[in-house]
Amino acid sequence: MLKKNNNNQKMLKLIDKNRIYFIFLFVFLFMSLFAPRFLNVFNLTTVTKTMAMNATVAIGFTMIFIIGQLDLSIGTIITFSAVIGLSMKEYIGFGGSVPLAIVAGGLIGLINGLLVTKAKISSFIVTLGMMTVLTGVIYTMTGGNSVSLSSDDAFAVSDFLGDMIFPFITPRVLIAIIMVIAFSLFLNRTRTGRNFYMVGGNKQTAWLAGINTDKYTIITFVISGTMAGVGGVLYAMESAAAPLNLGTSSLMYIISATIIGGTAMSGGKGGVFKTFVAILMLEVLYNGIILFGLGNEVKIFIAGFILAAVVMNEAIVAYKHEKIFGQRPELIKELKQVQN
């Protein structure tokens, strides 16, 4: 009797850990079967295109969650770097403005990281404050207007990265996929990568084992900022414009995807690839919703709803776990014997 229960439990655990893959499969199948015009090349290309930016940024954000921190500033970093990438083009060309934008993102991440580790201010406060500061900077730089390129320039850029190499995949998407795979491999298959998980799993233990937790924390914030920078640039180059609210919706989106994908803010678990799949899932979901004729609004609602459901689920699980923590196994055994 006990054995069967064990196997069932193991099954459930496995499913729960990898739930994002099941959810994705479900959503994809659902849309393929029921959404009009879903399964055609053109549509699927749209799906992959729009997620390149978010997927990139989500890499960095996932790492932040893995080490148990929070970065609320990524949205504004995206906008910031997009603005830099575009507005600096006339002075130093794309060859200059793009790297500059990316480095700028990394620098902001560095500041965040230093404030969290050295000044020992909680990441919630640091990144919330940074978010506000950057908003001010952005609006000051742009005078409140969106930045956009003249039509010739715009065309040139979009063209290159928008060229389809394989079906569904443009260079932009390829870049995103390559980075996801690279980071995923790094975090899962290298010693340094796994150390990030340990920092999030139990900081004290990590430190006692000789891992420089401050260094890892700073590096993670730098990566987060840099990835946000890359994402911003990718977006800017596609649309040749940087609307000023670009980053704000991204923040919500990325937090959702990260949590739905299974990376919790508590740290030590989850992964970059799972977040990626979560983003794919959300994109497919959105796409399908639009195909159903339901419009933008529904998709925002559903994404939020899924997030709320996932957060609530994790909270309830933790709540139940608390109650049974510390049981003496032999007493439970005796109890089962008496019951049988």
């Binding site: 796994r194 006692l208 007493l331």
Partner: protein, 507 residues
């Protein structure tokens, strides 16, 4: 051989020696000029009551303190063990009572933390699994899947993983702090087999415990500490339980404590077959008005869990409780407090007091509902009660605006007690009421307990401080592994007999 030769031979065997070490905390001298040594291939048990200084002594060699005095010598060279890193470098590994594993990570990642084997830049998954399994085999867990998360294994298995992790660093000295408190019989046996093997491999093991039967099974030598001082070190063959208990407990300070029983005739509390699955089963007892009922047991016996379930903090799964003859089933602790049944926690810093708030806030918190009229609470109504309690308990400094976090341990404990005294409880469950408290405060608290009993409160005294337990209680219940195994009347209770019973002897 000349005595010098013998000495040389002995010092060759000694893995680590502590000479006249001391450690002071604000207000107490936790370790007082102790000499201690451990030899290769031996298990040296370190025993003593709670607060005797065992953990502090060992934390010293684990590098937890940078301000101990005295010398620590390894291999005839003095070493500085001021940080955990220094400790590890010298081949010392300590296994704490609380698990220090990372829950969401896998067994192998915990065991091999920071040194996961790699092939080129990538991790060598096969090697990781192999090495982890090797480490796990040393603790009898070779069958476990190294990829399981710590969250998924039992607490006992987690403890073993902790040991495997420590062993993975090939230590010369292994310190184990109360490793068996949450273990079943078979698990303890398994642990001892492991320890026996480690001995044969030349490890020097320090085994901290206050479970006497186990000491006799596993140790070669035993050192007794009391109040921070070393009482004696003996070969295990030279001692008996009674002798050890005598050393642990010392000359009774019974002269200080000669409290009378104030128990009345009527029954105040009756517990029938109370169970919280997995924590305590089938607990039955009754207590009279004005009686002080002691509960004694080793750590992990389920005493605190019993207290918490009685008061509604934790759930209960079976059985009934009657307060003054009526069924008592509080849905929430606030109901219990309303009915006069309260519980004083053993963890005053984390569960008992708000260290950031002042004495007044902390003392009056549980009677806020009583002091409020229609939801309005003017804390000044509590001033009288407050000053009365500060006075009665001699809380120092007698200033209600003092932040509790800045008070000494004894005074903090008094504030905690004051909180519950303010409720004028019918039943007051005390869990280790004088842990980490100086003698003077201890006495004051004891006097207050007696005064409470005199006024008619029923006191349930959960304590591992034997003199306190024995002198205050009119009866002592012995709890062992979740059950009540003995009910001893005052006449039968001496510190030795109680401790022996708690260890499962003479039951």
């Amino acid at each position: 051989m000349s005595s010098e030769d013998i000495k040389k031979e002995k010092s060759f065997d000694i893995a680590l020696e502590m000479k006249c070490v001391s450690k002071e905390f604000p207000g107490t001298l936790a370790v007082d000029s102790v000499d201690f040594d451990v030899k290769t291939g031996e298990v040296h048990a370190l025993i003593g009551e709670n607060g005797a200084g065992k953990s502090t002594l060992m934390k010293m060699i684990a590098g937890s303190f940078n301000d101990y005095t005295g010398d620590i010598v390894m291999g005839s060279q003095k070493v500085d063990l001021f940080t955990p890193a220094q400790s590890k470098k010298n081949g010392i590994e300590m296994i704490y009572q609380e698990l220090s594993l990372a829950m969401p990570l896998s067994i192998s990642e915990n065991v091999l933390v920071g040194r996961l084997p790699k092939k080129g830049i990538f991790l060598d998954k096969k090697k990781i699994a192999e090495e982890t399994t090797l480490c796990l085999e040393r603790v009898g867990l070779g069958h476990l899947d190294p990829n399981l998360q710590i969250e998924e294994i039992s607490q006992h298995e987690g403890q073993l993983v902790e040991i495997a992790k420590a062993l993975g660093n090939n230590p010369k000295i292994l310190v184990m702090d109360e490793p068996t408190s949450a273990l079943s019989r078979e698990e303890v046996e398994r642990l001892f087999t492991i320890i026996h093997n480690l001995k044969k491999q030349g490890l020097a093991i320090v085994y901290i415990s206050h479970h006497l039967p186990e000491i006799f099974e596993v140790a070669d030598r035993v050192t007794v500490l009391r109040d921070g001082k070393k009482i004696g070190t003996n070969d295990i063959s030279e001692v008996t339980s009674e002798l050890l208990v005598q050393m642990m407990v010392g000359k009774s300070v019974a002269d200080f404590y000669s409290y009378n029983s104030h128990a009345k005739e009527n029954e105040r509390l009756r517990v029938e077959n109370l169970s919280r699955f997995g924590f305590f089963h089938d607990v039955s007892f009754s207590a009279l008005e004005g009686e002080v009922l002691g509960i004694c047991g080793l750590s992990g016996a389920g005493r605190s869990e019993l207290g918490r379930s009685l008061v509604g903090l934790d759930e209960r799964h079976a059985g009934d409780v009657f307060l003054d003859g009526e069924i008592f089933k509080p849905s929430h602790m606030s109901k219990a407090v309303d009915n006069g049944l309260v519980y004083l926690t053993e963890n005053r810093k984390t569960e008992g007091l708000a260290l950031r708030l002042d004495v007044k806030d902390n003392t009056l918190v549980s009677i806020i509902p009583q002091l409020s009229k229609n939801g309005v609470y003017t804390s000044n109504d509590g001033d009288e009660i407050l000053t009365g309690l500060i006075d009665e308990l001699s809380i120092y400094p007698p200033d209600p605006t003092k932040i509790v976090g800045n008070l000494s341990g004894g005074n903090q404990q008094k504030v905690l007690l004051a909180k519950w005294m303010a409720c004028k409880p019918k039943v007051l469950i005390l869990d280790e009421p004088t842990r980490g408290v100086d003698i003077g405060a201890k006495m004051t608290i004891h006097k207050s307990i007696e005064a409470l009993a005199k006024k008619g409160s029923t006191i349930i005294l959960i304590s591992s401080d034997l003199p306190e337990l024995v002198s205050l209680s009119s009866r002592v219940l012995i709890m062992r592994k979740g059950r009540i195994v003995k009910d001893m009347r005052k006449e039968e209770c001496t510190e030795e007999s109680v401790l022996l019973a708690a260890n499962g002897e003479n039951v």
